[in-house]
Every structure is written in C-alpha cells, then in structure tokens.
C-alpha cells in the first residue's frame, strides 16, 4: 500500500463524507426546519382537519312524570342508528357479501339492496336502520368482531321515546317524530325544555373512519333535557279514561268524548281524558274502531289516504283544548253567578216560567224543557230545575254590557293559556252584534262556542270563591339533579265573583245534585255540586237540514261539577259528543249520559284523592246511607252491640249464630267493611270462623237498564245490597253497576248502582 494512495483515499473520503453530510443531511435538515417550523402550523391544521370528525351527541330528552313524581309517562332510552360506510367495503367483494348477508339477517333488510349499497365507493354515510335497540347493536358488534370487520359499519347513538302507560294520557303527552322532536301535546309544547341541547364529540379518527385512541378528543357535552312533573295523576287519568271508554261503549257516542278533572284552587289538571286517543308509542295506528271501519270501507286511493290522515289528526287532537262546543245548561252556573254578584237577583228572587218565552225579532218562542212551565219559582229552584226562562230573565236584567263583561271575566273570550298546543279560540257574539236574542240564548249556554277547558276553568271560579285560575298540566320543570327550573303559575288571573256569590252558587248546585235535575251525578256519601248540560248542535243541525229535511238534532251531553261541596277542591267536566239515541235506548241528556259517568268517576276518585266520606244529615236529600262501624276483632257480642247502636241490621255467618255463643267467637270479617257505605235500610254481614265459603259466595246479577225497584229487588234476592247513585227520577234505570255482572262476591256486598233518566232537562227547542 503506497503512502500516496492512502493519502489520496483519505482526502477523497473525507471530501465525500463532508459532501454527503452537508448535501444529504444538510438539505434534509433545512427541509425539516421548513416543514416543522415555518409550515408546521398549517400542516398540523390540515392533519387535524382530516383526522378529526365531529359527531353530534344527541341530548337525552327529559322524562315526563305524573303528579306523584314516581310514575314515568314518557321516557327516552338509548337506541342506535346503523350507518354504512360503503367506501371501506366497496373494493372487497367477499366483505360486501359478508356485510350484506350479516346485516340483512340482523336487521331484516333486503340482502340484494344492502349488497348494492355497500358498493358505492366514495360514500361514507348511508343510514340503513334507525332506532335499533341496544340488543341489536350488540349483535351487530358481535357480527363485526366475529368477521373481523374493522370499518364500514358505524353505530351512532340516538334516543327513542317510550310511553310506558301506552294510550294513557296520550292526548296530553303527544309524541315525538323520528328526529326526536315533539310533534304533538306536551312533547311539542315543551319541546325546548324537553329536548336539551345536543353536544358534539370532536374526536380523532383514523383513515378508516373509526375512532383512534388519540388524546385529542374534545367533548361538548350534550345537555340533557329537563324533566316535566305533571299535575296529571296517572291513577286519576286512568280512571277518567276507563269510564270515558265505558260511556262511549254504552251510549254509542259517535263523535268522541272528554273528561277533565281540575284542582279548582291551583288550576292544575289532574286528569284529562279525550276520545279518540292513540298509543304514542305507535301514533300512526288508528285505534278508534269507528274511524277504522269507515276507512276500511273506502276504496283504495287518494280519498282513503286522506281519510286515514284525517283520522290520525282526529285521534291526535286534544278535544278538550282544540274543540269548541256549546256549553249548554252548564253555563247557567255562570249566568246565575253574574246575577247574584250584580245583585239583580238573589237566591230567593221569584220569576214565573210559563214554559216558553217569546223574544222580539224571533219567529218561534224559546221553550223551557218543561213545556208546561215551572210556574213561579225562586232562583234556587230555577237553577235546580234548569229552567231556561229564568236565565233569560237574568240576562235581561244584566243587559248586554254587564253580561259581556262577566263573560270576559269568566275567561270565555281569551284562551285559557293552558300549556298544551292547539288551544282553540272561542267563538262568541261580539258585544256590538249582540241583540236581545243573542243575549238571552247565550244566557243558557247556546249559540256560542267555547272549549271544554274554558268551561271547567269558569266552573272552578264558581267553586273556589270566584277566582279564575290558570289551567295547566305541567306542575314543575326540573333539571337532571332534581332542581326546580320552573314552577307552574298557580296564581289566579282575577276574581270574577265574590266568595259570597260563590258560596251561594255552590249551595244551590249541591242541592241540584242531591234533589234537583243534576241527580245523575249523585255519589252516596259525598256532597257534590253539579250542573247538567245538553248542548244542541244547532249549527250542525241546520247544515244537516239542507241535505236531509228529516235530519235529527244531535247533542252533546255534558256534566260539570265539583266536590266536596263544603270546600270544593276538584272540578270535573264530562262531555260526550253526539250520543246515538237511536242505538243507545234513547239517551241524549247530560243527566242521563254524562251524569252517571261523572258519578262513577267521583265515586272512585274522591276516596283516592283523600276526600272523606260523610254520611251526615243532608237537608236536601232524603236518601241517607251510613258508614259501617268497624267490628272486626270484636267478640260477636260486642259487634252486635255496635250494630244496634248504629241502628244497623246484621247477619252472622259461621259459628256463633246462637246468642249463648256470642262471647266465645269473635268477628273475622265484615261486609261492608268498617267505614264503607251501608245503604239506607241495609245490613252488615258479620263473619266468624267456621262458615262455609260456598254458602256465602254469590254471583253478581246483570242489572243494566233495570228500573230502580227491580234492581233493588233482584239484588236483595241475591243477598246483595245496593247503594244508589245518580238520578232518582221515576224512569231512571241502571246505567252503571260498580261490580260487573258474573263476578263472585260475598253475601252482603254493596254494589254501587248509578241510575240515569231519559228526561232531558236542558233543551230549549221543542222535540
């Protein structure tokens, strides 16, 4: 090795090394500085942009609770949207087949369609199923992991609305659409409060589009919606709906019905049942049989689709808020209040009813329902008779100006502002257009249209000392942690009449139920105030007459009242739109149809609401039930003594029938139970040990449509007792029986029978 060569090599090698280091690494280093320092932020932003996907985080819709705060009426639960990302599948034939087959099996979709949809390269978002349950999501996840599918199918969280009580309160609750926004009822009215605000998840995704475990994850939390606690009590609501359905069935109601119960002091609605209704879990299915039949009878086509859509709107409609009706004679409680308040009459004022009254400018005279006339009566008697001329007389004394002022004060002009969507605007004769005819007809509740909710609100004012409350169904809005966000406005809007006037009216209305024309709503053991109403659908009749000269008048049978009379707490309005009197045995009157339903509802709900039964002397009512003393646990001797003291008959079943054994046995059971109703002249059956079960069980007979005397007789034959609610008119027959026919009960069991009379005490046009 020559020294020169070695030196040359050294020189060249070092030159080359330097060239390499400077040119190669130097250039690279300059590049790095360029990209990382100068362009760093720009490139970083671009990298972020491509790797960050912003996903909407749905907010959970608030829950709707009933008044007890424990029963959930509407609730959201997690569901999933299945999204296909065809871009990641399109190129792999086997994968497409696997995905299409797997998903079609799990989601029950068409295989071929799915297969085609997996083939769209460039598409990253194709929704194939919405609102799938968590269980289905788990199956999809398992399918994906089993088949090692890392991308191409995405599951996006969503919520679905559930209504655990089905049809209960459907017309109040409303329902939500597929986008979770409220479409009807409270869901629509309180959309903003319930919906909350959606959040966003800004997360890093790999190029396959699935999440990557990278720290950059920014969550804008979804704010869940507020919960609603209603004034609606599920128990009350269910009872209202139960009896409404029974009434519709029994009386062949053609056009729906409403029952509303209100707390007269706060305006809180305890229950609001309307018919037809629907299941908010499945709002598009038509539940009403009549509507369904009508639609099915139609030939396929546009007309049928239209009818179907109409039927849906009908069943979604809240009749109590959105429908107008003539209040009929129920309105007389308002007219009467006006007269007393203004001092133009007193409860003892006299007026003579001749059976009809002629008004100037009107061809036919206006009749009282009693064509013979009621003769000279006090106002108290006039209201209890539901005497039309009496109220025309009051209106005449008040004149248009005062009448219209009170009409407005009672809340008939403005909407009530109830927190439900679609409240209708009442239709009234304006003050300017109101002549004598209009005035005097309005005086007894005809020829002007208001909503049921306006009527019950006005009746609450009559009941509660004259205060016009704000009807509402949401008691309070609370956040996730239970903090109250907003309370319902429980204040009253104004005082319409004085407490004295209210007290007078209450007393008269109580007498009306005990012995007047509103006996249909009588409930044994309670003092109830009530007024019947039978609205004649005159405008509809007039239209019908144009088509058919023999068209019959149709009616709305209603009953509005409140209880207990001594301190009214709960008002209830029941109304049935168009009872089919040709089918139901000739019943059209409020007293006959709405009264018994009202009575049955009150009978069931007043104990639940904590209103005590009192069997004290009632100056208006010759009918007196008593409460059974409680004797269970006493010896027979003591029990018998207690019965004698209470003036009640008794029977002893089992050992100890002989007087000498009375000390040896004690009472194990009594019927009726302690504290419950024993009918007038009734008895208590005392059970000791050793009775034969078969001997004491009896079957309840069917008493429907039986006259009172027969019903009592048949019941006695079966060793049963009856307590009589409702009408006591001569022609009254059993409308409802508290225990259904065929049920086995023990001897002595008291069956509540609600009677109804055909006599229509409210109409003014001659039939």
């Amino acid at each position: 090795m020559a020294k020169g060569t070695s030196e040359k090599i050294r020189r060249k090698a070092i030159t080359l090394m330097c060239a390499l280091l400077v040119a190669g690494f130097g250039a690279a280093a300059i590049s790095l500085v360029h990209w990382q320092l100068i362009k760093g932020e720009e490139l970083s932003a671009k990298a972020m942009e491509q790797s960050l996907r912003s996903t909407g985080l749905p907010a959970m819709r608030g829950t709707i609770y009933d008044a007890t705060g424990t029963k959930v009426l509407a609730q959201s639960a997690s569901v999933w949207t299945v999204v296909l990302e065809p871009h990641y599948l399109a190129e792999n034939e086997n994968l497409r087949r696997t995905v299409a087959n797997g998903l079609s099996e799990i989601l029950e979709l068409d295989v071929q369609d799915l297969y085609e949809r997996t083939g769209v390269a460039g598409s990253y978002y194709d929704v194939i199923a919405r609102k799938v349950e968590t269980e289905v999501r788990d199956r999809i996840n398992k399918f994906m992991s089993d088949n090692k599918i890392g991308s191409g199918i995405r599951l996006i969280p969503d919520y679905k609305r559930y209504y655990p009580y089905g049809t209960v309160a459907s017309n109040i609750l409303g329902f939500t659409g597929s986008d979770n926004s409220g479409l009807e009822g409270l869901e629509a009215y309180y959309e903003e409060e319930l919906s909350g605000s959606a959040g966003r998840l800004i997360a890093a995704k790999n190029a396959f589009g699935t999440d990557m475990p990278f720290e950059y994850e920014q969550i804008v939390e979804a704010e869940n919606g507020y919960d609603l606690v209603l004034t609606i009590d599920e128990t009350v609501q269910s009872v209202l709906e139960k009896y409404l359905a029974e009434g519709i069935e029994k009386f062949k109601i053609k056009n729906g019905a409403v029952a509303v119960m209100m707390d007269v002091d706060t305006g809180g609605i305890l229950g609001l049942a309307t018919h037809p209704n629907y299941d908010p879990n499945d709002p598009f299915t038509i539940l009403d049989e009549n509507l369904l039949k009508e639609i099915e009878a139609m030939p396929d086509g546009e007309e049928r689709d239209e009818a179907k859509s109409d039927a849906r709107y009908t069943q979604w409609r809240n009749k109590a808020v959105s429908d107008l009706y003539y209040p009929g004679s129920v309105y007389k409680m308002c007219t009467g209040s006006m007269g007393i308040e203004e001092g133009v009459i007193s409860e003892d004022s006299l007026y003579t009813c001749t059976g009809s009254e002629k008004i100037e400018g009107m061809k036919d005279a206006i009749h009282c329902w009693n064509h013979g006339g009621h003769g000279t009566t006090t106002f108290r008697e006039g209201l209890c008779n539901s005497c039309n001329p009496w109220f025309m007389h009051i209106a005449g004394l008040l004149d248009v100006d005062l009448f219209c002022r009170y009409r407005e004060a009672f809340g008939f002009v403005d909407r009530t502002g109830i927190d439900l969507p679609g409240e209708a605007q009442s239709l009234l004769h304006s003050k300017e257009n109101m002549g004598e005819v209009e005035l005097k007809i309005e005086a007894f509740g005809q020829n002007f249209s208001i909503t049921p909710i306006q009527m019950i609100t006005a009746s609450a004012a009559v009941a509660n000392g004259g205060y016009l409350v704000r009807p509402h169904v949401v008691d309070r809005i609370v956040d996730e942690d239970g903090n109250i966000v907003k309370n319902a406005d429980r204040s009253y809007r104004r005082q319409v009449v004085s407490e004295e006037t209210s007290a007078i009216l209450c007393d008269i209305l109580r007498q009306n139920v005990a012995s007047g024309t509103a006996r249909g709503g009588y409930v044994s053991g309670y003092r109830i105030c009530g007024k019947t109403g039978t609205s004649e659908k005159v405008d509809k009749h007039n239209q019908d007459l144009l088509e058919d000269p023999n068209a019959r008048m149709t009616y709305i049978a209603s009953y509005c009242g409140f209880a207990p009379a001594e301190d009214p707490k709960y008002a209830l309005l029941v109304f049935f739109d168009e009872p089919d009197d040709l089918e139901n045995g000739g019943y059209t009157a409020g007293n006959a149809i709405a009264g018994p339903i009202f009575s049955a509802i009150m009978q069931e709900l007043l104990p639940y609401l904590g209103v005590e039964v009192k069997y004290d002397d009632d100056e208006y009512n010759e009918h007196r039930d008593t409460a059974a003393p409680s004797v269970v646990g006493m010896t027979v001797k003591e029990a018998v003594a207690a019965m004698r003291e209470a003036g009640l008959e008794y029977d002893i079943e089992g050992s100890g029938e002989d007087e000498e054994d009375w000390d040896r046995y004690s009472i194990t059971e009594q019927i009726p139970e302690g504290g419950t109703t024993v009918p007038q002249n009734g008895k208590v059956v005392l059970f000791t040990t050793g009775y034969n079960v078969n001997d004491v069980m009896v079957e309840v007979p069917d008493l429907f449509q039986e006259e009172m005397i027969n019903a009592v007789y048949i019941a006695a034959e079966h060793d049963l007792q009856v307590t009589i609610n409702g009408s006591r008119d001569d022609d009254a027959v059993v409308m409802m029986q508290g225990i259904p026919a065929g049920e086995k009960v023990k001897k002595g069991t008291v069956i509540t029978l609600t009677f109804g009379s055909k006599v229509n005490t409210d109409i003014y046009t001659p039939e």
């Binding site: 090394m17 690494f25 990382q36 671009k46 990298a47």
Partner: protein, 415 residues
C-alpha cells in the same frame, strides 16, 4: 495479516491499555500469531480492539429505531394484522439475531472476504440471486424484489449492495496503482456496475439501482478513478434512467414519472400524492418538540405503511424537530466514526470496504430523510436501523460487524 490485527494487551473489555501489563502481554504474542495465522476467523474476546463509539452509535440507533418502529407500526399492525405487536416482534427478533451476528462477524477477520475466491463467490452468488429474483421473485406493488425460501424472505438487492462494496474494495485494492487508467480504473467497475444495476433495475427497484449506482461511483471516486470517467458514467447512467422511464407502453412508466410530479406538487389532492402529503402533514404536526412518543395521528392509516420507508415522518411527528435532529446527528456521528475507522485500516481493501459500508448507511439515511421531507422525489429507500425489513436489518448489522472487525485491526485510538 499485519501484526497489529490483535492489539497487544487488550483487556477483555478492550477499554484501556494498562501500561503495567503490556510487557506480559507482549510475551504471549508470538505464540498466538503462529497458531492463528492460518485461520481467517478466530474466537477472540468480543471486546478486544472493538471500536466502542461505533458500537454505541449502532446500538443507540438500533434501540431508537426499534422503539420508533413499534410506535409507528402499532396502529397499522393492529388494523392490518390484528396484532399490535406483529411488526415489532418480527423486527425485534431480526434485531436480536442481527446483533448476535454482528458481534460474531466482528470477530471474523475481514481479509477472509478478500482471500481466495471468496469475492468471486459472493459476486457470482449475488448475480445468481438477482437473476433468480427476476425469474421467480415475489412481487409487491409492481416491483419484484423478494426471493422466498419457505419462511425466509430475502431481498437480493440488499445483498447486491454489499457485493458491489466488496467487489469494488477488492478491485481497488488490487489495482490501486492503475486506477487512473481506463482498463483498470473504469472498465471492470463499469461492467460490474452495469450488470448489477441493470439486474436490480430490471426488478423495477429504482431505489436499489440508485443506491448501487451511487455507491459504486463513490467507491470509484475514492478509489482513484478519474473524474472525467465518472462524469461520463454518470451521463450514461442518466441516459439509461431517462430511457428506462420513458419506455412506452407499461404502467411502470407512469408510476416512476409521476414521482417527479408528486415531488413538485405534494399538496395536490390525489391518490399519488397521498403518501408524500401525509408524510409532510406528519412532519408538520411535529413542530419543535413533537406530539410525544406514541402520540402520532398520522400513523393511523393516514400515512401508508408507516413502519417502512416513511417511518422518519412519524419520528418527526412524535419527537419533533429536536428528535429528528438528534437522530440525524447520530447518523452523522456513525458516518464520521465509520470513515474514521476505515481510514485507519491497515490496508487499502480494509479502507475501501469500511468506506463503502459507511457510505452505504450515510447515503441511505440521507436519501431516506430527503425523500420523507420531499427534498428529493420519492424513490423508496428504507431508513437504516428504523425501517421494517428483516433482510435489510440483518445485512446492515452484518456489515456493521465487518466495520467493527476493521476497527479491531485499525489504528484507531480506542476510547
């Protein structure tokens, strides 16, 4: 073999000569020389005469490389292989085996590759392998680069790089005095280079061809070939490459040409620019200090095959400019140490062999980083010690073993 091949008095760790022990050691020396002369390899103490800085640079780069490979391949390996450890386990195995091989090879006297027909066998074998690859190789993309023998997958172009270094070192050492003549200084080199580069190019392996060509030319330059000849060869090579790229009809033409377009417009949004674009996004995201080890976003399927040629982009993203610079400095130190060792070799063959091996690493690293940063068009060069690839790593560590062996005999002041 020069007497200094085994340093007298080297301790087991070869760290420091202890003056007091020197005479004792010298006494033993003659016996050993006699006994070991005929053997070209001998089991000596591993640390004996070993250049520690070089070993440290290699091991540090390898360690960083493995860590970064794990980080970069993690996501890819999870999504593609369903096992996050797929790449790192394989590479780790190769690395462990490679380090063992390196240490073993460092004990094999490098003259062994020079003696007898060894050089010829290596050269012939490489040509055979390259030819075999063309006939029965395995393809990836459109290039045919691998030979498969059962589970073993060999990339003959890696072998070819070594063969060129070995052959040219041999040539130079044989004809060092006649290197300025055409007959010795150009012709044999040119023919061998044309043969090897041609075979690799036939595999559509552009980067391999480029590395082989550049390595060959560098060795010729250092060896003493006249610059005008080198210029001429460069011209010829340029013409050939140009013709190769412009031969009509085949898809590969567009493939190679578009690299230039990608280089010029890396941010144009199309499929061709994707890799370069994502690489630059990754580098840019890193900033000065990086997003943190393991925190890369770009490795999540954005940067294709982040464990391969573009691993340095992930390094830049995770460790930032600082980390990238440290790694480049480590490479530079390695090159410096390699050149230092080579130049201190006792003979021309040793010098040329050491320089060739060192330049190969330096060239690859520089080219790779330039490609990743879009400083030069994308050619597909892997980053030594970092990129995934068993053959390459084994070859690389083996070559480092040779360099270490040269260091044992070189006049390098050991530290």
């Amino acid at each position: 073999m020069p007497a200094g091949a085994v340093r007298p008095g080297g301790t087991a760790r070869g760290l420091r000569r202890v003056p007091g022990s020197a005479p004792e050691a010298r006494q033993e020396e003659p016996k050993k020389k006699v006994r070991r002369r005929k053997k070209h390899y001998k089991l000596i103490s591993l640390g004996e005469g070993l250049d520690m800085p070089l070993l440290v640079f290699v091991m540090v780069l390898l360690a960083i490389g493995l860590v970064m490979l794990f980080s970069a391949s993690y996501a890819e390996s999870y999504y593609r292989q369903n096992d996050s450890y797929y790449f790192i386990l394989r590479q780790g195995g190769f690395a462990a085996f490679g380090v063992a091989a390196m240490l073993f090879i460092s004990t094999v006297d490098y003259h062994y590759y020079h003696k007898g027909k060894m050089t010829l066998i290596v050269a012939g074998g490489t040509v055979l392998l390259l030819a075999l690859t063309l006939i029965m190789g395995t393809s990836a993309d459109e290039a045919t680069r691998w030979l498969e023998f059962g589970p073993v997958r060999l990339q003959p172009s890696e072998v070819a790089k070594f063969a060129i270094i070995l052959l040219f070192a041999d040539f130079v050492s044989r004809w060092e005095d006649k290197m300025d003549t055409f007959t010795y200084g150009v012709l044999p080199f040119g023919l061998v280079l044309a043969l090897f580069a041609g075979l690799v190019m036939a595999e559509h392996h552009l980067s391999g061809t480029l590395i082989i060509g550049m390595l060959g030319m560098m060795m010729m330059f250092v060896g003493g070939t006249r610059l005008r000849w080198l210029g001429l060869i460069l011209l010829c090579a340029g013409v050939v490459v140009y013709l190769y790229m412009n031969r009509g009809g085949e898809d590969s033409e567009a493939y190679q040409m578009s690299r230039i377009e990608v280089w010029l417009n890396p941010f144009e949004e199309n499929d061709e620019t994707w890799q370069t674009r994502q690489s630059l996004y990754a580098i840019g995201s890193g900033g000065v200090f990086g997003v943190g080890l393991g925190q890369s976003r770009q490795k999540y399927m954005y940067l294709p095959k982040p464990q391969n040629d573009f691993i340095f982009a992930i390094v830049c993203e995770e460790l930032g400019l600082v980390g990238a610079m440290v790694i480049m400095i480590l490479f530079a130190l390695l090159v410096w140490r390699g050149v230092h060792i080579a130049l201190n070799a006792k003979d021309t063959f040793g010098k040329m062999l050491g320089l060739g091996l060192t330049f190969q690493i330096g060239l690859q690293a520089a080219l790779n980083i330039c490609v990743v940063t879009n400083t030069v068009p994308n050619t597909g060069i892997s980053l030594p010690f970092f990129s995934y690839g068993g053959t390459a790593l084994l070859m690389l560590l083996g070559e480092m073993g040779i360099l270490l062996n040269i260091s044992r005999s070189a006049n390098v002041e050991k530290t």
